[in-house]
Amino acid sequence: MTHNNYIYIAVMALVSYAIRILPLTLIRKPIKNRFIQSFLYYVPYVTLAVMTFPAIVNATQSPVAGAMALVVGIAAAWFGASLFQVSVACCAVVFVLEFFL
């Protein structure tokens, strides 16, 4: 079955907006349930970590360059580099390493 990109876009947009707007409009009281609170707190870290590795290694032409980008990205973020700096550092590592690999 083929899918229509505009329906994909509509589905994504609706879900993205609903997630943000429902708490802002309906859930005006703090969430008291400790499990839900904790679950929502951990979700971003887990989901982004799962999506980053090993995908970053497979995203580049050479897996070694991707792995090095991961190491450098972690180090840069650890020492307080901004979003922009971390991203650029990752790109630069891959760009330079792939000259040699």
Partner: protein, 261 residues
């Protein structure tokens, strides 16, 4: 409406401006703080565009996706499974999971609206709750003036959407090596989001390490690796986060202290 407003105006003039009222100064502060965010978004969305192109999106469609979603991981996850001809339901579920953190951020923001703030501000702020915009908004003391966030959004949202479109165009033009380098920008952004909290909290650090490890294992384990990437992301996220929530419940005060920091 009009006549009513006129009657009320003379009284309002003497009243101190409410915290949510438009202020040019606040709006400009938002724009100032939005500049580095917009720069980062532009670079990262470029690599998102490369993913969008692989999923078969035109530059205009990519522009639209980013303008309407404002979500790095959410969009990326959706593109990844659309490449594999995902169903609309799968796209809805992966968008929900990858963006679930915005639910939490919106809950936190909802607490910061001053009483009496016109309702429509909630609808507009909800358009662009992202890690970075949430971060700068919640970091301001006191009740929320939506115009601060709007100042940042007017720079960040167009940068995000334009970068995506340009990424799709450039993905065709740039040499393979440059595309290869740019495609890690998005992962750099993810790292910039997860690593600083991991430095502060041992639990988060351990979770990140466990997530890396299990994601790696599931990518190669026979059987599980046959599941689509999106499904694996959903299953792992729900499983690991649930386990962490049971074993290491957080309390609200700690969370707020971290957001304020």
């Amino acid at each position: 409406m009009d006549s009513e407003a006129k009657i009320l105006t003379p009284e309002l003039v003497n009243v101190k401006k409410p915290v949510w009222a438009f202020s040019k100064k606040t709006f400009c502060e938002g724009m100032r703080d939005g500049v580095p965010i917009a720069l980062g978004y532009f670079a990262v969305s470029f690599s998102l565009g490369i993913a969008a192109r692989r999923a078969g999106f035109t530059p205009f469609q990519g522009f639209l996706v980013s303008l309407l979603n404002n979500a790095s991981a959410g969009e990326y996850a959706a593109f990844a499974i659309i490449m594999a001809n995902a169903t609309y339901l799968e796209v809805a579920v992966i968008t929900l999971i990858a963006n679930a953190r915005y639910l939490l951020m919106s809950c936190a923001l909802a607490q910061r609206f001053a009483p009496g703030t016109p309702f429509w501000h909630r609808l507009v702020i909800g358009y662009d709750v992202t890690d970075e915009l949430f971060g700068i908004t919640i970091a301001r003391p006191g009740s929320l003036n939506p115009y601060y966030t709007y100042g940042a959004i007017v720079l960040a949202a167009p940068a995000w959407a334009t970068g995506t479109a340009l990424g799709i165009i450039a993905g065709n033009l740039l040499p393979l090596r440059a595309v290869s380098a740019l495609s890690v920008a998005l992962y750099g952004m993810f790292l910039a989001i997860i690593i600083p909290p991991a430095r502060k909290s041992k639990v988060v650090a351990a979770l990140v390490a466990i997530s890396f490890a299990l994601s790696f294992v599931c990518n190669y384990l026979p059987g599980i690796s046959a599941l689509s990437e999106g499904t694996r992301t959903i299953v792992l996220t729900v499983a690991i986060s649930s386990a962490a929530a049971v074993l290491f419940p957080v309390n609200q005060d700690e969370q707020e202290a971290e957001h304020d920091a």
